[in-house]
Subunit: 211 residues, 2 copies
């Protein structure tokens, strides 16, 4: 996973943050980060901690769009935060650096050596997020829970190198059900069937793929 300041030294990074007129804030656990934030276009970088982006629809029902942790980025570029349909809650004590989007092309920064690196990092981050979304869409369009699970396991396997055939789930089963948008109990039922039919073996969150 790429970081906004990859290939930029610590020293340059501090300089860059200053030129960008960035502003850092520390939030306690379970706090709505965007409640008093100016919703002009901005980029938010998680320095430490983690957050959840939550979408609330016209009926008031909520969906977790994404969970992000240290080093990751969110903001008006990656979610339609402006429309106030998206809220952002800390999952633990979290420090966030805010950068106004317009600043990324201010006169001072354009003159720096590392401007192009910074921009390329930003583009790369957006690209990675797009791929993340594409994969989730691909999983969500599967017709059955079984297909969702088998495809998800393959995806994790591939992402973590592939070949080993034993994967470790990066989420709890409860979170996985939510990610795949299936009822948790129905999902557990399906996992039990997959075990009985010899597709997988499980031990806690470790899953051995036999297909």
């Amino acid at each position: 996973m790429i970081n906004l300041f990859d290939n930029i030294s610590e020293k340059e990074m501090l300089k860059l943050k200053k030129i960008l007129k960035s502003n850092s804030q520390i939030f306690k656990k379970n706090v709505n980060v965007l409640s008093n934030v100016n919703r002009d276009d901005f980029i938010a970088l998680i320095e430490y901690g983690s957050i959840e982006l939550i979408y609330t629809d016209y009926e008031g029902s909520k969906t977790v769009i994404e969970e992000l942790s240290a080093g990751e980025v969110f903001g008006t570029l990656t979610s339609s935060i402006k429309n106030e349909e998206i809220s952002c809650f800390t999952k633990e004590d979290t420090k966030i650096t805010f950068i106004e989007y317009d600043q990324i092309t201010n006169d001072d920064i354009i003159k720096t050596d590392f401007y192009i690196i910074f921009i390329k990092n930003l583009i790369k981050i957006l690209t990675e997020q797009l791929n993340t979304r594409n994969i989730r869409i691909e999983l969500l369009t599967k017709k059955t829970t079984r297909d969702k699970l088998l495809s998800y396991f393959k995806y994790i396997d591939k992402k973590t190198g592939g070949g080993s055939k034993t994967i470790k789930l990066p989420l709890s089963y409860t979170e996985l059900a939510s990610y795949l948008s299936v009822d948790r109990s129905a999902m557990t039922r399906e996992i039990t069937s997959l075990k009985n039919e010899g597709f997988i073996k499980t031990k806690g969150r470790k899953i051995t793929l036999l297909y």
Copy 2:
């Protein structure tokens, strides 16, 4: 919807394309655009015509990820095209301009006046695509076909200005079923129920929202 060359004059655009060493190709209908394309990082701009991005999973089953038309952009930045799981077919005669990603930071272009405009356009495009994906994820995570439909209609209403209460579907019902990942006949059944229960009225692809 933003275009890669928005706020850049025709003349500058031609200059820019030259500096970027871009390469244009015309494809007939129903052709696999990426079959002989170098899959290094690239940006593809649809000059005219339209295409479909199709994902093929490990089992060989296919999902349409996106349909794109004139002015829109795809490429390794917006989909994991490199892994060859994604193919791209023309839906009609289509002209595409390819730009190698590394060229967007070549020495000549950085010196031009419109470089920052170009980069901002590119970032904006990626951002819009992310929002498009977020919305689809939001719809796909709805538990019932009814919720998917009602939310989708609201979304189209909002996207096209809102308020009028009569929307025109931008896709066929068959395509909509695929987009929402539900069985077409089951979806039609649900639409019929929605009509009977007074949530909507329909006339072809025109739908009046009464909720």
